[in-house]
Every structure is written in structure tokens, then in C-alpha cells.
Symmetry: C2
Subunit: 332 residues, 2 copies
């Protein structure tokens, strides 16, 4: 099958770039040093490649992701790196023999883990991003509470998400060290073997965590591309030029097939003006002139919410469609 | 069923507000004066209420929307108000007895309509938004071309999308008149009965088009709310507070359950700081203090791409879940 036969918009994954990204990361962080985050691709077919590369523990952001990974036979060690109040679905997975660990940062989330039948937790620690996670000084107390309630506390996690897109590498490294000092202090109070943190932006500078939760590296986006890391853009939204006017043209890729929260998408060789629900308008003045019907690859600025808008990923080698992978971890 | 039993995040539609919005619009633009745009809700159950209110023609943005509407028995008169190059799926619907009309704005899209077996078209005219649509002076020539190729030309359409969120009503009216002068000129050249235009932002000021393609009015969002129109917010993303820290709290609604292209979402009585994939962080300093587990209704800034992130809409009356409607027009 050729990409010309695809209904546009369509999510494309360039096989060679994906392979390069997976192998580059697996060389940098082999085996258990990487706990790939599936939220960035939501695709068990892609997770299977990460597993084959030696990473048997995964990070998830939603219950649905945990369930889909378990159903795909990838439930060796699934960390839901997020707080959940109704943990019954997770408890059922644990009962069925999948290893499920959930993040807790409060009395309520510990009680919820117990109530739903979850057996293992990590203490989620705030390392500087104002989001989830307890204050570092609270981690030991919460660990005691969890153990007292019969839970296994496997260690700590803390996400330095505010540092991911910091452009200067040295600044990123210095601030990551500061953030990780909080996590290491909490780890000393909590115990357990896991010190889980990091992401694609800090994978090479975070030498304090003993596992890194990177996800975006596999597919990449234009925001991460600006960091100059050794990963290639593997994800594109394929569109067709449906209209050409004097000065601009329109491709049938819009807000419903890519996410704008990190800014406008990019099209090589031109300037994107704006996106509507099903359209991206781009400049043609002084640019190569597109024709109605031309296929165009649009580069999204943020991989995660873009993938979540699609039900299928098309693995391609240039114009050849090699495989069609369901985006089978959407929803909650 | 109560909303407390829903897996969050969950899309809620408040029945009374939806009813109010549907009836208010049907009073203002009865019967064929309104051609509801289904892209704003992507839900045939909701479209059925619009049909029952007397609107038997609908506007669609994608082939999938046209197919789903036809499959739901709502294929009396479906206008795909967008350019399409592979029209075979539309041709099959026409052959099966559904009335399908597609927008064309070029020789290529006219040829595509013929090739795929589509029988009826409208000439899409650029009325000021740099997107699809031919120059007004080209419309007559394209209509001749289409008729020469055996197509029925039902008239013209032109979307004044650049005026939808213009805050001053008088300015919106004046600029809509200017935009519609282009469409009326094109209509004089093209012939046919349809002069289709407009949206929720201009429904009350666009007295030149003979049918209005409004969609957002049914569910509404915070961007349209600022216009002071007589529509109520019917759409919410229900979330749970999963973490509370000193100064902020986090609800489990994020970029994967609402769209940020029109700005941050709103939460009554507080200030939203930022959204991540599965989180919204909001201020609690000097605000009512939320507790972990609290249910919160988040108001999205843009209805259309928010709905497209969900597979189900929950029709509610306060805390009661009345019905669960599939968002069955997603994808392409």
C-alpha cells in the first residue's frame, strides 16, 4: 500500500527514524535504566519494540494505558505515574498477575490504593513542577502510612517536567540536579529500590534517578527537536492540499488531527499561518507552489496530544505503508 | 447512575442548557434557515434532536461525519462544506439514496466530485477568511464548468470564520455584510437556491445568507460565551481533584481531554495555571480549598476539538447521568 491511498489526515511514523530513536535511547539508557512512557505514543505495537529493545518496565499516565499494556502481554512491571482515586480496575489487573504500581502523594490516594486492591506504590514527590507530588519532607511519613496499610513501597518518583524544554543544556543539567536533590532526600526517608524521574528533555543530564520515564524520544515533535538531541522526527500528520489561492494554500490537517498547545505545526519550506478544525493555511508567496492534491507532511509541535487524536498510526518507509498500528491506549 | 460513578475525565452535557440552546436557535432560525454543523458535537444522538427541532439539512466537515449521519438515518440533505479529492465514499452514499452535496472551489475538486460519483455541489467562495474558497469573480466560471461536467450546482457557500469571535456586535454585523456582498455577487453569477454561510458568531447578524451553518451554539465554549449571546454553557469536562498542595491543586483533566487552541480552560471560582497531558493545575491561594476526590467541572475554551478527544458524551441533569451518547463521528 502507498501513502497516496490513505484517507487524510493520517498519522505517519517513519520507520527508519523510529528505529534510530529507539536504538539511540536504548544505547544511552539500557535495560531497566529506561522505563519508557507510553503516554507519548499510546500504541502497544510500538511499546512491543521498546520491550524487545530490553526495557521491560513501562510508565503509564492512565488506567486505560495500564490495562491495554497488560492485555498486550506487556504487564511485567507497569508504573502508573499518576494519582488515581478509583483503583479497582488496577486492583483487578494485579489480581490477574500483572505487576501494577501506582503513584501516591496523599493519605487519600494511599487509602484508594488499598481500597482497590493495588499492592505496590511509589511515593510521588514534588521536585519543582507545581503539579502532583507531596512535599519532599512528607515522603517518609506517607511511606510509613502506606506500609502500615499493608502496601509495598517500591521507592519514589518525581517529574522535573518544568525543565524538559529548557534550551541550554548546562542550565538544564544544573536545575535537574537541584530537583533531584529533593528526590534523593525523599528516597533516603522512603527507602525502596526505585528512584524514578526524568523524560526526553533530561534523559542525558539526569544521572541521579535510577530509571528515566522518557516517552517523546520515540516519535519526537518540533518542540523537543529544538533541544538538539540525537533523535529524529519520526511522526508526521499526512495531509492533502485541498485548496490553493493567490498567496496561500490549505492542507486538510487541523486542530482535530494535531494539537496546538506547544504552538503551530511546521511544514518544510513554508510558513504556517493558522489552523482551523480540519485545515492548516500556509503561505505560498515566494515559496514553492503546491498543487491541489499534493501530499504534505505536517510536523506537530507536541507529540502526545496529537497521537491521542488518531485511531491508527501508519508505519511507513517513505511512500510505502508497511504496517498499520492501532492507537489502542486512547481514552481513560 | 450518578456522575460520581464516571471514570474521569468525562464529557458532560447539561440537558437543560442543551435544550435551551437548541430551542433558542430554532426559534431564531427555524427549519431550513439553519443547517446545523455537526463538526461541533460529532454526535448523531445530538443531531437527532436538531432534526426533531425542524432542521433536516446538516453541515459536515469530514467524509466520516457524512457517512455517520447517513447511517443514523439523518441523510435527508448533507452538505460537506469542505473540499475533498477522493469522493468515492461520498459517491457510494449518493448511490444509496442519501442526498450528499460537496463544496468545490477549483477545477481539481470539480473533477474529483465527478470521478467519485457525487452529483450535487456548491461553489465555495472566499469571503475574507484566507482558507478554502475561490475568488468571488471565479465562482460563475466554476459553476459553468461543474454543470458542463454533469453536476447539479445548488448554489454558493462562504464562511466568514474570521468574524465569528469579533466582540463588538455592530462591527461584526458591518463586516459580515461586507463579506456577504462577495457571496451575493458570486450567487448572482452561479445561480441555484443555496446561499449558505455563517456560524454561531454571526447567526443573528447574517441576514444575507439564506441558511446558517452554526454548530457551537448547541454545546458552547468559553470563547463564544464572551460574545454575550443567549446560549448557555452546556459542555463540561468532569474531573476529579487528585492532588492538593500548598497554593495549588490538580484535577485529572488535561490536554488529552480538552483543547487549548482557544486558550486555557476555566474553572469557576479559581484561576487555571496550566494544563499538562492529563492534568490541570489551578490556584488555591485565597480560593475555596478543594479536597482530594472532589469533582470539578472544567469549561473548555473551544468545543469542537475538545469533543473530538472523547468517545462518549454523558447527558446529565446535575449529578444524574441520563444518557450516554457515543461521539460517533470522530475520525475521517
Amino acid at each position: 500500500m502507498l501513502i497516496t491511498e490513505l484517507q487524510t489526515p493520517a498519522l505517519l511514523v517513519e520507520q527508519a527514524a523510529l528505529r534510530h530513536n529507539l536504538d539511540t535511547m536504548s544505547t544511552a539508557l539500557p535495560g531497566a535504566r529506561l522505563r519508557p512512557h507510553v503516554k507519548a505514543h499510546k500504541c502497544t505495537s510500538l511499546a512491543r519494540l521498546q520491550y524487545a529493545n530490553g526495557h521491560h518496565g513501562f510508565t503509564c499516565a492512565t488506567i486505560r494505558e495500564v490495562e491495554a499494556m497488560a492485555a498486550a502481554g506487556l504487564g511485567t512491571d507497569l508504573l502508573l505515574a499518576n494519582e488515581v482515586l478509583d483503583t479497582r480496575r488496577l486492583g483487578r489487573l494485579a489480581k490477574d498477575g500483572h505487576r501494577v504500581t501506582v503513584a501516591v502523594d496523599s493519605t487519600e490516594t494511599i487509602e484508594a490504593a488499598v481500597a482497590g486492591g493495588v499492592r505496590e506504590v511509589v511515593i510521588d514527590v514534588n521536585v519543582g513542577l507545581p503539579r502532583c507530588g507531596c512535599a519532599p519532607g512528607e515522603a517518609g511519613r506517607l511511606a510509613d502510612l502506606a506500609r502500615g496499610a499493608g502496601l509495598v513501597v517500591r521507592g519514589v518518583m518525581g517529574y522535573e517536567g518544568h525543565l524538559m524544554l529548557m534550551h541550554q543544556e548546562e542550565q538544564r543539567r544544573a536545575q535537574t540536579e537541584q530537583a533531584m536533590q529533593h528526590l534523593l532526600a525523599a528516597s533516603a526517608d522512603v527507602g525502596g529500590e526505585l528512584i524514578s524521574a526524568g523524560g526526553t528533555g533530561t534523559y542525558s543530564v539526569n544521572t541521579w534517578a535510577n530509571e528515566i520515564q522518557a516517552g517523546s524520544y520515540a516519535l519526537m515533535d518540533t518542540a523537543y527537536q529544538q533541544l538538539g538531541q540525537p533523535f529524529q522526527q519520526a511522526l508526521f500528520v499526512l495531509g492533502r492540499v485541498i485548496s490553493v489561492s493567490a498567496g496561500w494554500a490549505v492542507v486538510d490537517v487541523g486542530l482535530k488531527s494535531l494539537s496546538l498547545d506547544h504552538g503551530l505545526p511546521s511544514i518544510d519550506g513554508t510558513e504556517v499561518w493558522f489552523c482551523s478544525d480540519e485545515h492548516t493555511t500556509f503561505r505560498t508567496d515566494g515559496m514553492p507552489q503546491p498543487a491541489v492534491g499534493d501530499l504534505i507532511r505536517v510536523r506537530p509541535a507536541h507529540v502526545d496530544p496529537t497521537v491521542a487524536l488518531h485511531d491508527t498510526m501508519h508505519l511507513v518507509d517513505g511512500t510505502q505503508v508497511l504496517e498499520q498500528w492501532p492507537v489502542d491506549m486512547r481514552g481513560w
